[in-house]
Amino acid sequence: MRDGLGRPQTVLLLGGTSGIGQAIAGELLPYAGNLILAGRDPEALAEAAQRLDGPRRQVSTLHYDALAPAAATVDALATAAARYGDLDVIVLAVGVLAEEAALTDTPAVEQAMRTNLLGPLLAVHAAAARLRAQGHGTLVVLSSVAAVRTRDGLFSYGVAKSALDVYARRIGRSLRGSGARVLVVRPGHVRTRMTAGLPEPPFTTGPAEVAARVGRALNGRASLIHSPAVLRPVTTVLRMLPTALYRRLQEGTTS
């Protein structure tokens, strides 16, 4: 249960090797609590678990693969809940960033779309169902400003994030009155392993900033936040720009 001071007791991170996801989990459980890192790569998970371990934190890992059939996602959530009880916060941080040029053939596109779109969509659905039945809990979905205005070189990624973003917000609305809630987070460019080597556009932040913003939002009522906050007006403007102008602005930046 979340306590009277807003602290969650149990956090599940789907996409357990995600840098932003781990930063959020660390932010939400500063003093004590249970953390489950769910993902594909056992070694990377174990390493992260060790890094995140603390005196009164219990950190464990769980196998979860966004490419697996939906039933496996439902099972993973059930296993997590069986371990420590109710899941107070589920953070969905699944995704890979591939340049369009790397998606050379249709199977590669399929793989990317299943990882960035279908898998996360199913996870949103399964997590929402579990939280609804629990009567409490927050699902934090990592979207991206790329969901608002997709970029040429990353349009598969952007399209996947757009769909996930819309889907998560819709499900969030359907949860109203259930006690459970969805928080969609749209970070801008964040310095992580995933973005290493890419040029840094304006408003680049680190995982800690995103995590702090999520931590604050969890104690409020927002269903959608940007990180940094300034991106909300900026993306609104970008969305309204004529395509030609937007293209010119884009040159040399990645978001």
């Binding site: 009277g4 001071l5 629990q134 006690g179």
Partner: protein
């Protein structure tokens, strides 16, 4: 979930959604058994007046049984000096009903809205623990609906173990339906209270001990430095038994920020309290004003800001006064000013494993609920546990489960009795989940350890 209702703690810092059902007055045993049968996988919990500060009477995603309709006060039996009351009757109603008949409840908590069921389930105490112990100790017999055995009569002699597990059992052993309560004769509806200002914590404690030994009721209010006002009360105007009308409290607004728990505001309030006690120490008050001071401020929680308040009440044995001092200035120096700090004195504990009072001091502090307060109170918990003390579970909303065994050494025994009464875990609350009170795995371990 359909038809779910937002259920909040009295402090407004905890809330969750549940399906609230209101059983009809009376009802056959079969009707009541159907209540258990109808509880889904998220279980059910009884709720009385909702005066718990935290999440004891909430059940996210499950069923909450509103017991307030379960009224009915029987006639006083003068031979045994007892009266029977439905679980939903409030202590305020009882005290008012009994006064003109020359009787009263020996133990009354600080809010008139507390129900008989809630008072037993939390084993509440009054300002006179030294004289009468807890509310549970006044229960001559009660009727409890248990998941495993249906309706069960419990008393000191019949099903005594189940009786003590239910007293202080936070609604997790069964649904209390009715209780026969011991009474004491009442001499007057009016009491004289005497305030006594003291300059330091040592002096306050010394004075509180003396007042508790000689007055019917004793309580002290303290500021962060430990200075405070000790108040004792004794009957006045003997024979005047008719309850006066109590002025309806004014609804207070929700204040922004930390509200009255903001250090400059609380410091000013502290000075006002001491000054008032100095210039006018003597008052004639009604029993209601004596017992239920905060009821005059409906919306006290909102005065602590939008996120409400958490109350931190703990007890430590005599000799561990340094923990009281640390609680008072430690919180203050960390930037958290309690809006109210109240000291009481406890005598012998009773056999209920989860009952809160134990010989020593009790300090209750109200804070605005802010995330940054968590590590401060966590550290205090450790000091309290190390000193042999404990926090009051029905008022809690944030203690760490791993400290419970140290704070409540009878926990394993309680879990064992509880799991006999409710083997399928039909009874569950947000508090039970948060503190893993009814955890199957833990109770399995305990039973294995006992075998």
């Amino acid at each position: 979930m359909q038809n779910s209702t937002l259920v909040e703690g009295w402090g407004r810092a905890t809330r969750s959604r549940a399906t609230v059902v209101t059983p009809g007055q009376g009802g056959t045993d079969e009707d009541w058994a159907a209540v258990f049968a109808g509880a889904g996988s998220r279980g059910l919990i009884a709720r009385g007046g909702g005066r718990s500060y935290g999440d004891a009477a909430q059940n996210a995603g499950g069923l909450v049984l509103d017991m307030r309709g379960q009224g009915g006060i029987g006639t006083v039996d003068p031979v045994t000096a007892t009266v029977e009351a439905g679980a939903g009757v409030t202590v305020g109603e009882l005290v008012r009903h009994l006064a003109p008949r020359g009787w009263t409840l020996p133990v009354v908590p600080g809010s008139a809205g507390v129900t008989v069921g809630g008072a037993i389930a939390a084993d509440v105490h009054g300002k006179n623990h030294r004289r009468h112990g807890t509310f549970g100790a006044q229960v001559a017999a009660m009727s409890v609906l248990t998941p495993a055995y249906g309706p069960m009569e419990m008393s000191l002699t019949v099903n005594a173990e189940q009786f003590w597990a239910t007293v202080g059992g936070l609604g997790l052993t069964g649904i209390i339906r009715r209780a026969r309560l011991r009474l004491i004769p009442l001499g007057s509806w009016w009491v004289t209270t005497v305030d006594d200002e003291q300059p330091s914590l040592d002096r306050v404690l010394e004075r509180l001990r003396a007042v508790a030994a000689t007055s019917e009721h004793a309580v002290a209010w303290v500021d962060h430095g430990g200075a405070g006002v000790v108040t004792g009360a004794r009957p006045a105007r003997l024979g005047a038994l008719v309850p006066g009308r109590v002025a309806a409290g004014r609804r207070t607004p929700v204040l922004p920020g930390r509200g009255i728990a903001w250090p400059p505001v609380s410091a000013a309030a502290d000075r006002v309290r001491r000054f008032a006690a100095r210039i006018r120490p003597r008052h004639e008050r009604s029993l209601a004003e004596l017992h239920f001071p905060l009821d005059a401020l409906p919306g006290w929680a909102g005065l602590h800001g939008r996120r409400g308040l958490v109350q931190y009440q703990f007890t430590v044995p005599f000799g561990a006064e340094d923990v009281l001092a640390e609680a008072l200035h430690g919180t203050r120096s960390a930037g958290f000013a309690p809006s109210l700090s109240v000291l009481k004195l406890f005598a012998e504990a009773n056999p209920a494993p989860l009952s809160f009072p134990a010989p020593g001091w009790s300090l209750a502090m109200d804070f605005a609920a802010r995330a940054a307060l968590a590590p401060v109170l966590d550290r205090l918990d450790e000091r309290v546990a190390a000193a042999g003390g404990r926090v009051y579970l029905v008022k809690d909303s944030r203690v760490r489960p791993d400290l419970l065994d140290a704070m409540y050494p009878g926990l394993a025994r309680w879990r064992a009795v509880r799991s006999m009464l409710d083997p399928e875990h039909r009874l569950v609350s947000d508090l039970a989940r948060r503190l893993r009170l009814t955890d199957q795995r833990i109770s399995d371990l305990v039973e294995a350890g006992h075998a």
